[in-house]
Symmetry: C2
Subunit: 152 residues, 2 copies
């Protein structure tokens, strides 16, 4: 009458659970570290995405959704907040009139520089005890997990 009880592979559960915990802690202490700038860890990810040299001309909303792996609706609210404090701007794409390009403002660039000072301290604390090779391995593992978990 009842299905056999399933025992999950312990290492699998542990890995997924560790991801849970680490993600919770990251958002909390990341946002705390950025407290003086008044930016959340998620908002930092948006600013960081825009600061890459290859996106000098800005990113479209859809591109950024795919890059950050959040829904358009979630991103839209973050962009509204960042636009309200003047860190980003939505500008019309010349070639495609439907598209907007999200760009960093001068004020956003200054904020990001301040953020990076704070992040440098944060990163040093976070990476303590992990060699460069460890960090590279960890990125590889996370990339693999991310891709395996992706819907498409």
């Amino acid at each position: 009458m009842s299905k056999k009880n399933i025992e999950l592979d312990e290492i699998h559960s542990r890995l997924i659970f560790r991801l849970f915990q680490t993600s919770n802690v990251m958002h909390r202490s990341g946002t705390l570290a950025l407290n003086s700038v008044g930016v959340t860890s998620q908002q930092w990810s948006v600013l960081g995405a825009l600061s890459r040299p290859k996106v000098e001309a800005g990113m479209t909303v859809n591109d950024m959704c795919r890059y950050l792996m959040v829904s358009r609706q979630s991103l839209s609210l973050m962009l509204n907040r960042l636009e309200a404090v003047g860190y980003v701007k939505r500008i019309q794409d010349k070639r495609d009139q439907r598209s907007k390009r999200i760009v960093l403002t001068e004020s956003g660039r200054e904020a990001l520089n301040e953020i990076n000072h704070l992040m440098q301290v944060f990163f040093e604390k976070v990476m303590k005890g992990l060699s460069r090779d460890d960090q590279i391995s960890c990125v590889h593992y996370l990339t693999r997990l991310r891709d395996n978990m992706s819907i498409d």
Copy 2:
């Protein structure tokens, strides 16, 4: 007049950013995988915590906050929802009248068994390409990151 521009260590940014992405994807596709049971990935973490043999007698709310690394207020809402569908129960602690012990109900145990069937499939997909040693290494790295990021 302006501080020197900070260039963050690329591997550090990448690692943290990968954690962002992976956590986003995990919650989305984890919840999707559990869709038929009507439980979110976060609620699964609560049920999972309670299913461990060492917590046969239940966990206090504070213990579970520390374990899941979420605030009491967040946990409280999750417990309310799980209690509303009958998967968990808050029972008085005999020894400490202030404490409640969160326990899995029979219905919760059945749901968890169904969840575990779904999770087994999910885990197989997620862990593809990662050897057991890889998984163990990844857990070690995440544990290190989690502890380094913890406030206390």
